[in-house]
Amino acid sequence: MAPAESILEVRDLVKHFPLTQGIVFKRQIGAIKAVDGVSFDLRRGETLGVVGESGCGKSTLAKVMMALERPTSGSVKVNGRDITKAKGAELKHMRRNIQMVMQDPYTSLNPRMTVGDIVGEPFEIHSEVLPKGGRRKRVQELLDVVGLNPDHINRYPHQFSGGQRQRIGIARGLALQPEVIICDEPVSALDVSIQAQVMNLLDRLQKEFNLAYIFIAHDLSVVRHISDRVAVMYLGKIVELGGDSQIYDRPSHPYTQALLSAVPVPNPEGREARERIILQGDPPSPANPPSGCRFRTRCWKAQDICAKEEPLLQIRPGTDHLSACHFAEALDVVHVQS
């Protein structure tokens, strides 16, 4: 793939949430290190999948990129301008370019607003985009684009099914013609037979409008289908980053290997012979992550160096993509060809 121009540059992004004690005199006793030094680029028209378990910082990352949270340090540059430092009119203008599709289509749509109001609200906020007269027509066009009946503009969210509601959320995300859409678990709340429909829609919209997606999900097969590159997160850090086949066929970080081998393969052939890496225990608390490599407490390869020295995200001999493990080596863990 020819390296296209970067549209989003995330550098050393850190977000700590303070833990405080006391009611009148609050003092900080620690911090939840939700995102702790994350860097990556997103190119125009590309999809970057972000995978990881709950609590690894995927959603906080999304919020910081959307400027819904201010980072503790680091920068998020959209077309070369840092959204984390932007204020007032400039921030508002930048927000037009980066939109979000939420996970739960049942709680992310206001039940008292009609579909027309929901999809048209971005135009109310950014009134310079489109004069009032053309808005209704534009909303109907958007509904049509996402596969809904434009005549349903006056209906309320409860009159739609889960898959249709997610389409409404996508239409709202598209309204301001952004270049980047952050999809935070966009299909995980949907029924299996509906997931494929929404995935196809996202795919089609990407080609049509040359959108760049950050696709956050925990379903690894869904992420593989839609992503050009994949970032694997563990406890606030990216532990492995590479092209989709680099991550899925030649994972080099033990956590990625464990994650992939834990995914049930929808094919019963040879299931007795399948080898599984089953991790013991739960991820440690992000308030008090382990020293050195954060994965070492659950890692079967861990040695002394892992506790002392934090492995950098870099390409190591014998592998072809970024991995944050001292002992990175490519290993095909999912032998079954589906």
């Binding site: 029924d191 037979s193 989709d244 929808p266």
Partner: protein
């Protein structure tokens, strides 16, 4: 009938299937009309066997399970017909007092959301021990001792120290282990697991499924696994019942179903799984959306979404046609589906 309920001594005296659900029909009376949530479901489970019930939300898979357990809210729910035979006895006809004894000792259940299924104001050990205090009349200290043993058995680290902790002090995976400990406390012969890992991360899901498999092997339980995840089913099931719109549309041994589905819905589900070799192409998607239980399509409930449909699909309800001794498909045109011609 008395020996059925007399616990372990009565076991093994009945020769048919351990649990048989036959033509079960459950409906809900709502203000908008009657919703037929379960509309003629038949399946059976034997000791040591894993039956996976696969279906989307609203397909009736959980309502069937709740009816087997006898925990369905009635009203609005109502069993409109059919039978549930446990060791040959129709438990729907038993008085509540006797059903209570089957619950926990004969059949027990693990729920999806462990945090809302556990009582937040009692320690977990107390909640596990409740099984022994109420069903077996054990003393408090005996029951607590057994609770610690059970927590060890479901591999909760440091069980002795954690027995007095409250549910919120445990992680999601550990809470689900506690639910499993409660369910297996009285050595049930059938364990129903309703989406036991849906709320969990994949690495924890692998731990829990491994634990369930080990427990099943140790005690030769029959397991009914209710899920929508085709991957989990392929991993653990012996046989599968696919549900759609309150009916079973296909039953088959696990290998047959994945190799060669005999119902268009099953086939559509399998084809819509993202596959490595088809990356970049459009995913196969089943058209339309699941049916509304209040306005079920006439004839075959799947016909508005079905690529194989013909005129009679809208009028004639397909029975579960036998394909072989172990397989069945509720599609008039199952031969075409199996042959793969569309």
């Amino acid at each position: 009938m008395v020996e059925v309920l007399s616990g372990p001594t009565g076991r093994g005296s009945y020769s048919g299937a351990l649990l048989e659900v036959e033509n079960l029909q459950v409906e809900f009376h709502t203000r908008q009309g009657v919703a037929k949530a379960v509309n003629g479901v038949t399946y059976s489970v034997n000791p040591g066997e894993t039956l996976a019930v696969l279906g989307e939300s609203g397909s009736g898979k959980s309502v069937t399970a709740q009816t087997i357990m006898g925990i369905l809210d009635m009203p609005p729910g109502r069993v409109a017909g059919g039978a549930i035979r446990f060791r040959g006895v129709d438990i729907l006809k038993l008085p509540e007092e006797q059903r209570r004894r089957i619950r926990g000792e004969g059949i027990s259940m693990v729920f999806q959301d462990a945090l809302s299924a556990l009582n937040p104001v009692f320690p977990v050990g107390w909640q596990i021990a409740e099984m022994f205090r109420i069903h077996r009349g054990s003393s408090r200290s005996d029951a607590k001792k057994k609770a610690v043993e059970l927590m060890d058995r479901v591999r909760i680290p440091g069980a002795r120290d954690r027995v007095n902790d409250f549910p919120h002090q445990f992680s999601g995976g550990m809470r689900q282990r506690i639910m499993i400990a409660m369910a297996i406390a009285l050595d049930p012969e059938i364990l129903i697991a309703d989406e036991p890992t849906t709320a969990l991360d994949v690495t924890v899901q692998a731990q829990i499924m491994g634990l369930l498999a080990d427990l099943q092997r140790d005690s030769n339980m029959g397991l009914i696994l209710i899920t929508h995840d085709l991957g989990v089913v392929a991993d653990v099931a012996d046989k599968i019942a696919v549900m759609y719109g309150g009916r079973i549309v296909e039953t088959a041994p696990v290998h047959d179903l994945y190799r060669n589905p005999a119902h268009p819905y099953t086939k559509g589900l399998l084809e819509s799984i993202p596959r490595v070799d088809l990356k970049g192409q459009e995913l196969y998607a089943i058209k339309g959306m699941p049916p509304n239980l209040l306005e079920m399509p006439s004839g075959c409930a799947f016909h508005p979404r079905c690529p194989y449909r013909r005129e009679d699909c809208a009028t004639a309800v397909p029975p579960l046609y036998p394909i072989s001794g172990t397989r069945g498909s509720a599609c008039h045109y199952w031969r075409e589906v199996v042959d793969g011609s569309r």
